[in-house]
Amino acid sequence: MIASLFDLTLCLLILAAAGAAVFGRAAFMAVVFFIVYGILIAIAWLRLGAIDVALAEAAIGAGLTGVLLLAALARITRRIDAPEPSTGPDRTTLATALASLVIASAIAFAFLTLPEPQGLQERVAENLADAGAENPVTAVLLNFRGWDTLLESIVLLAALLGIWTLARDEAWGGRAGPRHVTRPGGVLAQFGRVLPPIGLLVGIYLVWAGSKQPGGAFQGGTVLAAVWIVTIMAGLMQAPRVADRALRAALVIGPVIFLALAVAGVVAGAFLVFPPVHAGWLILAVEAVLTLSIAVTLAMLVFGPPEEEEKP
């Protein structure tokens, strides 16, 4: 009963935040509502028994996406201030609202009429012993559906390449993003010194714990990326040059090793196998390098393309 009350309240808050993010007049307000929305959704995942997803949502949805949006907004509004076209409730918006309502109702109907669930809980549990990870979600991510995860780690790189493509030609090779300046010894700089050790610890813990309990490469990698982002925003470090070989090696090392493992399976007449005997440490090793690549890639996604002209 009380649980339902909690769920109902949370759903209403989620809808309110999403509604404000969609309908809100000012773009900044919409972005703030979206950040809030991410926090609430992370809580919702806990109620759905999905702690791993909650971790990912807390780190990515509420954290990184918000930073990306705020940074983008600051850079766009600096350039444009022209009033944007009105989207008052004319006939098209009314039709859109109606169509959205119909589609949402159809989806809700489809959801309500779903047949008896036939999830894979049991099958995952049966094979968990051979999977090399006690956490079923990690077992699915790295082993049972490892090919998805491998491709996904490459999707991140594709996005980064896309972003780098947007650099101006003169700036190519230079440091990613603008150079952040802060007052030395100021609040931000102090904060940038205190946070990283803790964040580093938490990030590594999440990866390490991920094979037994909720956590894993993506969650840990996001935390590590966030730490790096804070350090750079606090002006304590500079973002690396996009032409830097070490940076590029760090970006690809995770996918490369994962791919190499996939090819090694050919010896056994298969593709992407973790032999049960070695699965435990292999998964941990793959996760470790993946975390490094994911952390570096995510941070570079936030920094953006190089902006300052490269000094010869």
Partner: protein, 113 residues
């Protein structure tokens, strides 16, 4: 009355989020608002998916959809990052946060006051 189960509530919430996001995606012309709406739809779909895999709390949450959702969240983040970078780069050149066909007549010419 039967007490509404968590999965039912969150599933319907997900459906509603999809509808909300769809509306925003179509109606907004500023691209950054569309990216926001895209993310709302995405998380609505994930919520629906997650709720559907938790319909039998006794069996626990199905780990396979969870893994797919984590993958989906990362993919959505990649798409968002690229879209935002494109919008910023476009705004730099066009002084507009909307596509030409969506911009108000003359809005492109107005500079920052």
């Amino acid at each position: 009355m039967i007490a509404p189960s968590a999965s039912l509530l969150y599933g319907l919430c997900g459906a509603a989020l999809i509808g909300l996001g769809l509306y925003g995606f179509v109606v907004h012309r500023r691209l950054i608002r569309r990216v926001l709406a895209f993310n709302v739809i995405g998380s609505g779909i994930f919520l629906l998916f997650g709720a559907s895999s938790y319909r039998d709390p006794a069996a626990g949450a199905d780990p396979v959809p969870q893994a797919m959702i984590i993958t989906g969240i990362v993919v959505a983040l990649s798409a968002t990052a690229l879209a935002l970078a494109l919008i910023v780069a476009y705004a730099r050149l066009a002084q507009s946060g909307a596509l030409p066909e969506d911009a108000a007549p003359g809005a492109d010419d107005e500079d920052r006051p």
